[in-house]
């Protein structure tokens, strides 16, 4: 520490005054000699710069003749000239593949991609917008190698899960840091529901948003993904999983114009893209006997659709509250009037969703100042009636050059977002659960088109109309009208920064940024809701505040003609506080009055979570002859969450970029003009969750996995229970070491490019709650343990097969293959639970891929053959025998991901389409399992047919031992309700037969856009007009027997690969018009 300070003092004291030089000239297009307006001219290694005027002319004052001027213009190769003359004019050549592409790197520092020794990849803001996704994170899907994005469903505002190069933490956060304009922002998926229920709230409830949704995609200039620890090393622990750097649009000066106004509007129409296949041949009931919804005594047999064939039934024509056409009787019955035809409750229910987007922006400026103001509104209604998501954003950004040495920048963005969300997943008020289980002989809508018509879901006596006679599950129309969830987020993101050039070679930079929001939610369950028949209301409030302060000093130096370098020394302070308040009122007295004052009992939970870190960091850069680049970083961090006295940790990184084509003199070679190799090593640490070093007591609340349970205070008595999680005063920081090698090769005059990366990262000493035997008195102990390895390759292929004056064809393809391997778990631990149910879950197991699907299996003999029951007295004669054990039954990690985008442009017309491929990766189709039990899955149409299950004959004797001759099975088993109500369906003890591969090929995006020639508007104030039409998810080819397999029950969490009555995904068209003034 002391040495560092001494060094900084030395650097500061060497500031000296020097003679200044004024240079002027013009910047022209090398092809036609025309002046380039708005090209940037700056002094290398400083922030001293200017822009050319309408004729391409510039004037700049530099320190002395040793200064080097850099000339840049988008789409052109940049050029450098020493300021040895008072008049310097240059002509720039167009650049095919932007070899000197400038990318944003850690801390928001812009650097030439050429200089980097690690992989980064950028996505233009336009590509995020054209994805048609409301959520900017979802808009990154299928655009970057090494990045996997999984949207949890097509519900408005649903979260998207993003991870880079797999998951490295066994149970902790695996999503990358999201940074907007250099300031880290929160991308959490805040949960809803009683916090005592923990992760179980994710199995049910509503699809919440990840907070990245608060960013307006239209404000994004560019997104850069820092994939490995070497790239994000300067961010320290927050970016242990990589970083996504979002740069927002800034104002720019258009010569001769004070302000540029841009207005864009679009309308998208969405439909469900894939329905769940259901049977429509058999009526409600069991064993071929019809059990109607309005049966005098409720029966569990109303739940299933193993009744008679529908074509043997008729209506008696006497209308009642349950059946518009009268009760259902046998077609042979004397009262029979009209034939019964099956209802398609599923397709009848969903509507066309609409998304309106309106964006207005104003920008302008001059050489020294610029501003941009934008206002946007998104109004989305979902395919589920009454569901919606709205977002309004306002953003103001500006940059000012106060003097030649001093520049400031600031930005503030306000977002209001939220909507009305619908109950989903595993709960008796879940929409899809009630919808898909409904028998085809019952019309949930009661013939109403209006989704709010009460005759669909409320009977005259106020109880619920549903296919189970008021029991079972909510009628979906009840769910959308009687169980609304609304959320309202108010958020401010902002920063201000100052950059001061103390001398030509020394810059001081300071930036402070905040992310502050409140997220208020309310959920109501009306009286007679199936989950909470007495009714419930809860209000919850998150108050989030995050502050990030960065200070750094950069010294640059040209050692000699070929060698230059820089040294950055900095400090970071990060502080976060989350206040959470949950209030739940149970048991309404006055029907229809959803207010806390109407509740018979009220419980409240409150938490405050604090965390603070401080860090010092350094970055040394050396460049030799513009082809060899060495980067070294070091960071030391102190975290409040680690044990006092042992809370400091250090981690270094090194990377090397070697443009080998330069020393080989290939740059003029037509076939192979450019080749670069990258090598990097990095080590990164991570801290613990807040309050992990001690064990505490918490207010008692008691459940049993089946019921809502008890919550203290009870009868005025409070109670506290010892925490299930034991704290650990001996925690150490986590550590991840990584290596990365890569190559960036360009061929045929840069028309073809291949970027290849191999990486391997090993995470050890992970901090996690290690499950322990409950007989020790708790359920887990926070420990350092486990080892996870990620290795893989990423390939980015770019090509421009056609390029003429008017016509251009570009191709970009990304390929991602990651091996996410859990090498070891804490000693003595066989699995670590990540999420799911007690029967089927997602767990980490040692020596296996990350996040395995775990569930009940069929019994297998020593040769791995399934054992088929051959005891004729067994009810399972001819059927596979359950093992009674839970084992790994699926791997949700894809074998590889690939995508391919083609873009054709002809003058102002552009046509682009993006195909997305996914190979492998399992999903537990719990929806199909449950629907098989209920006789609603399409596969139960085979009832009554016979099947010889593949396997060997055998049985289990009274002592539990397998007795098998090993003979192949030849017993014909008759499929039907006996089997489906048992282990053949989803409520038996076996889950393995509902695990399916989620391969897909999809046409994710297709866009046709036209920008009208500006010559059309010469006499009008209009500067430009563009129109476009896009399709999203229009084609999907998958073998998955359910909704679109891009889905996850619990949303953006580590446990991926579960589908249990998830909301469907959507496809749609959008139309947009943009006009510039």
């Amino acid at each position: 520490m002391r040495q560092l300070i001494t060094l900084m003092c030395l650097l500061l004291s060497s500031v000296a005054l020097q003679a200044q030089v004024v240079v002027s000239g013009t910047v022209t297009d090398g092809a036609d000699g025309q002046g380039l307006a708005g090209a940037s001219v700056y002094e290398r290694g400083t922030s001293n710069g200017t822009l050319t005027d309408a004729n391409g002319a510039y004037t700049i004052t530099v320190d002395d003749e040793s200064s080097v001027l850099v000339f840049k213009f988008v789409g052109y190769a940049s050029m450098e000239k020493p300021a040895t003359s008072r008049n310097i004019s240059v002509s720039l050549e167009t650049d095919d593949l932007l070899l000197d592409e400038v990318v944003v790197t850690a801390l928001g520092i812009k650097r030439e991609k050429k200089q980097l020794g690690y992989a980064v990849q950028s996505v233009g803001g336009g590509d995020v917008v054209s994805s048609g996704e409301t959520n900017a994170i979802a808009g990154l899907n299928a655009k970057v190698a090494g990045v996997q994005v999984i949207a949890s469903s097509g519900s408005p505002g649903a979260a998207a899960f993003i991870r880079i190069r797999g998951s490295s933490s066994l149970t902790g956060n695996n999503q990358p840091l999201i940074v907007v304009d250099g300031v880290p922002i929160d991308n959490s998926q805040n949960r809803s529901g009683n916090p005592d229920d923990g992760n179980n709230n994710l199995l049910a409830g509503v699809a919440n948003s990840n907070r990245g949704i608060d960013i307006n995609p239209a404000d994004i200039e560019n997104v850069t993904v820092l994939k490995g620890p070497a790239a994000s090393a300067l961010y320290g622990i927050q970016a242990a999983n990589g970083a996504v750097l979002i740069t927002t649009k800034r104002g720019s000066s258009t010569p001769g114009k004070n302000v540029s106004i841009s207005y864009n509007t679009s309308l998208a129409l969405d439909r469900v893209n894939q329905f769940v296949p259901l049977q429509d041949e058999y009526a409600q009931g069991v064993s071929g006997t019809y059990f109607p919804a309005n049966r005098a005594t409720p029966s569990f047999f109303q739940a299933t659709s193993f009744g008679p064939k529908i074509d043997t039934l008729a209506y008696n024509g006497i209308q009642n509250e349950w059946f518009r056409d009268g009760d259902i009787v046998s077609a042979n019955d004397p009262t029979a009037q009209s034939a019964v035809s099956p209802f398609n409750n599923q397709e009848q229910f969903f509507r066309t969703g609409k998304t309106w987007n309106n964006n207005l922006s104003l920008s302008g400026g001059n050489v020294d100042n610029n501003y941009r103001f934008s206002l946007s509104n998104t109004k989305q209604t979902g395919v589920v009636p009454n569901s919606e998501f709205n977002r309004t954003t306002v953003r103001l950004s500006g940059d000012t050059k106060l003097s030649k040495r001093l520049k400031t920048a600031a930005s503030v963005a306000y977002t209001n977002s939220g909507g009305t969300r619908v109950q989903q997943g595993s709960n008796t008020s879940g929409l899809m659960l009630g919808l898909l289980r409904t028998t085809p002989t019952f019309d949930n809508s009661y013939g109403n088109d209006d989704p709010e018509a009460t005759s669909a879901y409320i009977l005259a006596d106020g109880t619920q109309r549903n296919y189970r006679g008021g029991g079972g599950y909510d009628n979906p129309y009840w769910t959308i009208n009687q169980s609304p969830f609304v959320d309202d987020v108010n958020r401010v993101l902002g920063y201000t920064s100052v950059s001061y050039d103390a001398t030509k070679w020394l810059n001081i930079f300071y930036r402070i940024g905040t992310d502050v929001y409140s997220d208020e939610r309310q959920q109501v369950f009306a009286i007679n809701s199936r989950t909470l028949p007495a009714g419930q209301i809860y209000e919850e409030k998150y108050n989030f505040r995050q502050l990030n302060s960065d200070l750094w000093i950069t010294a640059t130096r040209q050692f000699n003609e070929k060698l230059n370098g820089s040294l950055l020394l900095g400090n970071n302070i990060f502080d976060r506080q989350i206040n959470y308040l949950y209030t739940q009122g149970d048991g309404f007295t006055i029907p229809g009055f959803a207010h806390m004052s109407n509740a018979q009992s009220v419980l409240t939970r409150q938490t405050t979570t604090n965390k603070r870190t401080a860090a010092v960091f350094a970055n040394a850069k050396l460049a030799y002859d513009d082809y060899l680049f060495l980067d070294l970083t070091a960071r030391n961090e102190w975290s409040s969450t680690l044990p006092v006295g042992d809370n400091s940790f250090f981690y270094p990184s090194a990377s090397l970029g070697f443009v080998f084509s330069e020393p080989l003199g290939l740059s003029d070679n037509k076939i192979f003009p450019y080749g670069k190799l990258r090598f990097s090593y990095a080590s990164v640490g991570n801290d613990a969750p807040s309050y992990s070093t001690l064990t505490y007591f918490g207010s008692s609340s008691i459940g049993d996995g089946w019921t809502n349970g008890l919550a203290f205070p009870i009868n005025g008595v409070s109670a506290f229970t010892y925490d299930d999680v034991l704290g650990n005063p001996a925690l150490r920081p986590e550590k991840t070491n990584s290596i990365e090698v890569g190559a960036d090769l360009r061929f045929l005059s840069n028309r073809i490019g291949i970027d290849f990366t191999y990486y391997k990262q090993t995470s050890v000493d992970q901090i996690l709650a290690v499950p322990i035997a409950a007989s020790a008195g708790a359920l887990s102990l926070i420990s350092n343990a486990g080892k996870v390895e990620n290795s893989g390759i990423e390939i980015v292929l770019t090509a421009t097969p056609v390029k003429t004056k008017d016509l251009r064809w570009d191709i970009i393809a990304n390929f991602t293959k990651n091996r996410n391997w859990v090498v070891e778990l804490p000693e003595g631990v066989e699995t670590v639970f990540l999420g799911g149910f007690s029967g089927t879950s997602v767990r980490n197991v040692p020596d296996a891929p990350y996040g395995q699907i775990f569930g009940g299996t069929f019994l297998r003999d020593d040769n791995g053959n399934m054992v088929i029951e051959d005891d004729v007295n067994s009810p399972f004669y001819g059927f596979p025998i359950a093992s009674g054990e839970e084992e790994v039954i699926g791997d949700p990690n894809p074998d590889f991901l690939a995508n391919l985008r083609n873009t054709l442009t002809y003058k102002g017309l552009s046509f682009s389409f993006l195909f997305d491929f996914r190979k492998g990766g399992d999903i537990w189709n719990g929806t199909q399992g449950a629907l098989t039990f209920f006789g609603m899955s399409e596969l139960t149409e085979n009832r009554g047919t016979t099947q010889i299950f593949e396997g060997v004959k055998g049985t289990v004797d009274g002592d539990g031992n397998l007795v098998s001759s090993g003979a192949a099975n030849d017993i014909e088993a008759t499929l039907g309700e006996d089997w489906y109500l048992d282990n053949g369906g989803g409520f038996g003890v076996v889950a393995e037969h509902f695990v399916q591969e989620a391969n897909w090929v999809r046409l994710r995006e297709i866009t046709l856009a036209y920008t009208m020639p500006s010559s059309w508007f010469e006499k009008t104030p209009i500067a430009g007009l563009n129109v476009g039409v896009s399709g999203r998810n229009l084609l999907l080819f998958t073998g998955y027997e359910g909704i679109d397999p891009e889905t996850n029950l619990q949303g953006a969490i580590n446990a991926q690969g579960l589908d249990y009555f998830n909301m469907p995904n959507t496809k749609g068209f959008s139309f947009r018009v943009g006009v510039d003034f």
């Binding site: 520490m1 560092l4 900084m8 005594t297 409720p298 739940a303 029991g471 079972g472 007495a534 302060s549 200070l551 020394l569 302070i573 506080q577 048991g587 409150q606 938490t607 401080a614 102190w638 809370n647 309050y691 001690l694 064990t695 505490y696 008692s700 008691i702 459940g703 089946w706 019921t707 809502n708 349970g709 008890l710 919550a711 203290f712 009870i714 009868n715 109670a719 229970t721 010892y722 925490d723 650990n728 499950p771 322990i772 035997a773 007989s775 020790a776 008195g777 359920l779 102990l781 631990v829 066989e830 007690s838 009810p875 359950a882 009674g884 539990g960 048992d982 282990n983 409520f987 003890v989």
Partner: protein, 456 residues
């Protein structure tokens, strides 16, 4: 207050940040940030006692009661998972939630900590009540599964893989624990004493003493098959100590009307509804106890079962129902069984009659005609008659499953469609997590058809 302090510190923090390179300041910036404002590090015994009691009542009166009532044919699983359990497909997943959240990780750990801290400050009544409830909890779990961790349990990070005590080792320890508990509650009261925080007896110490003695008698009767001397031990316990004298003394946890206080059966029936109570041939639902009570004209039929509502009777199915840890009726049936096995049929007959009467009166349905027929002194008294009436009196109480295994009464026929070669399960499985995280200690045999030590 903490929050305010942090906010006030912000400007200071920023200044420190700017000045960082010129001073050495990382110390102090993080101080106190990791102090947990949400949860206490220590709580009083009066906060742990209700937690332990509610965990026991909700877990044993809920999840465990559902399994044991189903196995002793008082109810029938018909929906979803419960249709599978009904066929005796009960796996290690099924006991996991109860074992972890309610029992070892819930009630027993809270009671363990309460006993320790009460002993440390001389709160003898809390210590005594804690020991009685701990003995109750350990006996319940051992009767259900067999050998269980006790003497090495509850050590937290000190021992993450507690060894198992065999059931043969456990029972003497339980007797010791109960005896100690009864002694403690009669010792000097100590600085803190239970009152409203005691959700079972409201701090009435005499009731705890009686409850402790009934549990002692229960522990002896469980081992009757192991050593006949235990019948004498049971009778001696009942004769020489304060015990229950009427139904009013029953150890009960009464649940509340509020949604967050409601009884587990009422919650399960309302929120899940996968268990049926009423026999219905049209749906192949056969509830042995329902049919038996109906055939006998037993007035408890209408108490246990609500035929009109096709549901559980309100006495047991209401949100305000109670869970009975031990009852006067049970005490009388223990006395009848012990006396009968000791050859004192006269005493057995009297206790038998008292037990039947207590049960009928408990539900307010005493009927002389039925009583006379059920307890007819002219019919030879048999163990079967005693245990049959005890079964009828113990609706939804897990003790039924233990009694049936010990005595084979009543004779139950395995359910149709069972997957166990026509054998009724004789224990519940150890939970998944004990195999995963304490596999070396957990007995390897986890078949639900295997018998616990006293069930030989």
């Amino acid at each position: 207050m903490k929050t305010m302090n942090n906010i006030k510190k912000l400007p200071l923090m920023l200044m420190l940040g700017v000045a960082f390179l010129f001073t050495s300041c990382e110390k102090g910036l993080l101080e106190g940030v990791n102090d947990n404002p949400n949860q206490p590090e220590e709580v009083s015994s009066g906060l742990l006692l209700p937690s332990g009691q509610a965990y026991l009542a909700y877990g044993i009166g809920g999840d465990i009661s559902r399994y044991t009532s189903m196995l002793t044919q008082q109810v029938v699983g018909t929906g979803r998972q419960w249709a599978t359990y009904q066929r005796y497909q009960i796996t290690e997943t099924e006991t996991d939630n109860w074992w972890r959240f309610n029992h070892y990780g819930g009630a027993l750990m809270d009671l363990h900590l309460m006993i320790n801290q009460a002993e440390a400050v001389g709160d003898n009544q809390y210590a005594g009540i804690g020991k009685i409830l701990m003995a109750y909890g350990i006996m319940v779990v051992s009767d259900l599964v067999g050998d269980v961790p006790y003497s090495q349990a509850f050590q937290g990070a000190e021992n993450l893989t507690p060894g198992y005590d065999t059931q043969a080792e456990l029972y003497p320890q339980l007797v010791g624990l109960l005896t100690e508990g009864i002694t403690n509650i009669n010792d000097a009261a100590g600085p803190n004493t239970p009152g409203a925080d005691d959700l079972i007896y409201g701090g009435t110490i005499a009731s705890w003493e009686a409850f402790g003695n009934v549990l002692l008698a229960r522990s002896y009767i469980h081992l009757g098959n192991v050593d006949a001397a235990n019948y004498t031990n049971a009778l001696n316990t009942l004769d020489n100590n304060p015990v229950f004298t009427s139904n009013a003394d029953d150890a009960e946890y009464v649940f509340g009307a509020a949604t967050t206080e409601a009884a587990p059966w009422s919650q399960f029936n309302g929120q899940r509804g996968d268990i049926s109570f009423i026999s219905d041939a049209s749906q192949s639902i056969e509830v042995t106890m329902y049919d038996t009570l109906l055939a006998l004209g037993d007035p408890r039929w209408a108490v246990y079962y609500d035929t009109a509502a096709v549901s559980m009777g309100a006495y047991f199915g209401a949100s305000t129902s109670s869970f009975v840890f031990a009852s006067y009726a049970e005490q009388k049936f223990i006395e009848a069984e012990a006396a009968f096995q000791s050859g004192n049929t006269t005493r057995a007959q009297t206790a038998f009659e008292d037990g039947v009467r207590a049960s009928l009166e408990k539900y307010g349905v005493f009927d002389q005609t039925y009583f006379d027929a059920a307890t007819d002194p002219n019919t030879t008294l048999t163990l079967d008659r005693i245990m049959f009436q005890k079964w009828l009196a113990s609706f939804t109480n897990p003790e039924s499953f233990t009694d049936w295994r010990r005595t084979g009464s009543p004779a139950l026929t395995p359910v149709a469609g069972n997957v166990t070669n026509n054998t009724i399960p004789r224990r519940l499985p150890y939970p998944l997590t004990e195999r995963l995280y304490n596999g070396a200690n957990r007995p390897s045999d986890n078949s639900i058809l295997s018998r616990v030590w006293w069930d030989q």
